[in-house]
Amino acid sequence: MSFLLCAAATCIAGLALLHLVGLATRRRAIDAPLAWFAGSGWFALFCFACRFGGGIPFSWPLATVAFAVPPAAWLALRLRGGARSNGEDAAPGPGVPARPISRWIPRPIWLWLLVAAYVAVVLAAVLLHGFDTPTNTDDGVRLRALTPMLAFADEWSPEARGLLGMAGAVPTFVPAAAWLFTRSVDAFHVNYVVLTDLVALLVLAVGLASTRGTPERGWASALGLLSIPLFVYHCTSTYQDAVLAMYVGAAFLFAMEHGRTGEPRDLGRALLVAVAAGMVKREGELVAATVVAALLAYAAWRRARGASIPLGRLALLVAVPATALLLAKTAAFGLADASAMTRLLATRVEATAAAGPAAASAGLRREALEAFVYALFRSGNAGGIYWALAATVIFAARAAARSTGVAPLALLALLLGEVAASSIWLFPEFTLDQTTVHRALLVVTVPAALWLAAALVDTAWPESRPAPP
């Protein structure tokens, strides 16, 4: 119950935040799950910044303020008459497409009933197993699910700060929120947060597609996500690899929507969730930076070609939370370790470059490349996603790009390149022993499943595709 109340408070804070920055859609099926992601990011960033930047203990008054600030600010703005009209119910202006017509029943119904049945069965199993299963260790040695307990105790030794840097602010502060009010620890809240992330992503995928007239895309997305065996298993655990992938997936959904409709606010929504992804695991920094940089570059490119893109506002949407995060990290870990992942990467690149192109390391990388290809296509961890992705890129890339725009496909290629470079060049040993490569690939596999769903549905049913912007 305490978790449900805090989840509701998180969503209310997230929804108010969306209204404040003009990104609410006024469609419950989109706003509710988006508010969960945005609210989680807000709560984590606010508490992280206050705790380490302001020295305010992580306690129930702080959590209450974190939940209350966005709704209070939104209310104040509305009372002053300053709340911007926003969302899809606003009258379309020049360059903004008309509000699409919602359609909730996919066609042909017999096919999608089967898909919905599969989604329901697998989702129910994930929720039950995830609800029931106590935490195991991370990587066989660490316990990332521990960091919420450290937050609850509010004891931050250098070792504890090191774990916080590794786990990230979202997995640390969000599961601990309810404990502050009940003054007791229930470790299963970490499981509940992961499961809520999954439900939010699925509702977002189906809701976003259905409110914009193509429920087939939404259900195909849900099928794709729940057909990734390792992702499905991860969602039942307290690991954070799937959580990072889900944040990236949510951002990717809006990036694709922008590609389809040209709606600038979808780009803003994608950026907002991508910034929150930067607070999940230390790897999240790098993944989120890639997504944010690619989306901003794409926005600049479109603006240069005459599209009506509020580039300054989009950049501000990223710059404000990113700056707050950087300052909080600097306060928590010191300037040198403010970006733990960048530091780790720099050290590794240096070591790899110093080793030079020795025959032994070349052989190691060749083997790592083979293992990486095995991970994509044969290991079963990613299911059939990469087979279908390869076939779609080979046979229908142009038609698919017409569906979602070029940017999401390019972003997918960037993410795959990033994971490939890390798995083959920087950390080949963990690819060869298969300990991290499959988990690292989740941040590519999840958006790949979403892209495939959109591209294939639009290619198979071209009549469902909206007119290009």
Partner: protein, 366 residues
């Protein structure tokens, strides 16, 4: 009518052949003389009594069953403490759990019947001996052993192993989080399921393409590609669900204590010990966990479940003990309660006060 009955029989036979788990229920079993267990190679001292074959488990006990060519095995046994039984196959020397598709059963204290389809056990070839490995601390009584008919040939055993590798469940354990067990269409030929599904999906692509051309006079490559991709993605998903679900905890337990107690499947004593420690140690007490020197799982996961109590892993010879990932320290004299999980010995000055077994208990100062 006869036609229908024949079809149903054929379908049932095909299902039984395809789904290894159902084999145990479908084959006639013969009772094996219990006295033969007295001659089974084992590191335990096995006594044959009126109750059956009895032995104690302290360190892990391996029991090699001289049963070549037997695929189905069923045992009636009773244990007096939680125990983990792994099913293995020689000739792997000391049976080593933790391989992909490691087969295990977590036992609670009391009588139970264990059934195993050896075709699911890694390394079983049809000619080698099965083995059982007991972990925990307690007394075991095996009262009955029943075996299925011998496999008719090496080729039949290979077919059984292939079907089992394709359909049997993917058990959960520490490294499941890194990767699932590789799905093989044919484990004996090392043919990956992914390759087969891709080939079938390619065939479907061609068939749908040709079908549209013939039926409507137009090429619909988009529809053909969507159909092939749907097959490729969904087939993997359905196959994974079939393998996952039997190994998952799907009975909802509302009480978190019950979930901790009952749902650590592959570490049988751990869950009951964690639940016992949570219920008997006060919120302000300072805890030390003693375990085997090489145990990386027990101490830190016990401390995890005891949070926010201050908790450390007690290492003999160290003046100051550290908590999970080195967070927090306690000296010997600061520890109020010890939780002993498979530790070789208890530090002086403590006595057990509540126990799951003689190797898993909570101890307090005398």
């Amino acid at each position: 009518m006869e036609h229908g009955a024949a079809l149903r029989r054929m379908a049932a036979s095909a299902l039984l052949a395809a789904v290894p788990g159902l084999v145990r229920a479908s084959v006639p079993l013969d009772e094996m003389p219990i006295a033969s267990l007295g001659r089974a190679p084992s590191n335990a001292a096995i006594a044959i009594t009126a109750r059956g074959a009895e032995f104690d488990v302290d360190d892990p006990v391996g029991l090699l069953l001289p049963l070549p060519r037997i695929r189905v095995l069923e045992l009636d046994l009773a244990v007096d403490a939680p125990m983990l039984v792994s099913f293995l196959a020689e000739p792997h020397g000391a049976p080593s759990p933790g391989l992909p598709r490691w087969r295990y059963r977590s036992l609670s204290a009391g009588p139970t019947t264990l059934g195993v389809d050896l075709a699911e056990v890694p390394g079983w070839s049809g000619t080698n001996w099965p083995a059982l490995r007991f972990e925990g601390a307690g007394h075991v009584i095996v009262s009955h052993v029943r075996v299925g008919p011998p496999v008719p040939s090496q080729a039949a055993a290979r077919g059984d192993v292939d079907r089992a590798a394709l359909w049997s469940s993917d058990p959960v354990w520490h490294t499941s989080i890194n990767a699932i067990s590789p799905p093989f269409w044919s484990a004996s030929n090392r043919t990956y399921l992914s390759d087969v599904i891709a080939a079938v999906a390619a065939g479907l692509f061609v068939a749908v393409l040709a079908g549209f051309r013939l039926a409507r006079g137009s090429w619909r490559p988009g529809a053909a590609l969507a159909a092939a991709a749907l097959l490729a993605v969904a087939a993997h998903g359905i196959h994974a669900a079939i393998r996952f679900l039997p190994a998952w905890n799907l009975s909802p337990k509302l009480d978190p204590e019950a979930r901790i107690r009952d749902n650590y499947g592959f570490v049988a004593q751990f869950g009951p010990l964690a639940a016992l420690a949570r219920s008997t140690i006060g919120p302000g007490e300072r805890v030390g966990v003693v375990a085997d020197a090489n145990d990386w799982f027990g101490p830190q996961t016990l401390c995890f479940h005891l949070a926010p109590r201050r908790c450390v892993a007690v290492r003999p010879g160290e003046a100051e003990h550290r908590g999970i990932s080195g967070i927090g320290t306690l000296r010997d004299d600061q520890i109020d309660v010890l939780v002993s999980y498979d530790a070789p010995e208890l530090p002086p000055g403590f006595v057990p006060v509540a126990a799951v077994s003689r190797r898993a208990f909570v101890a307090r100062r005398k």
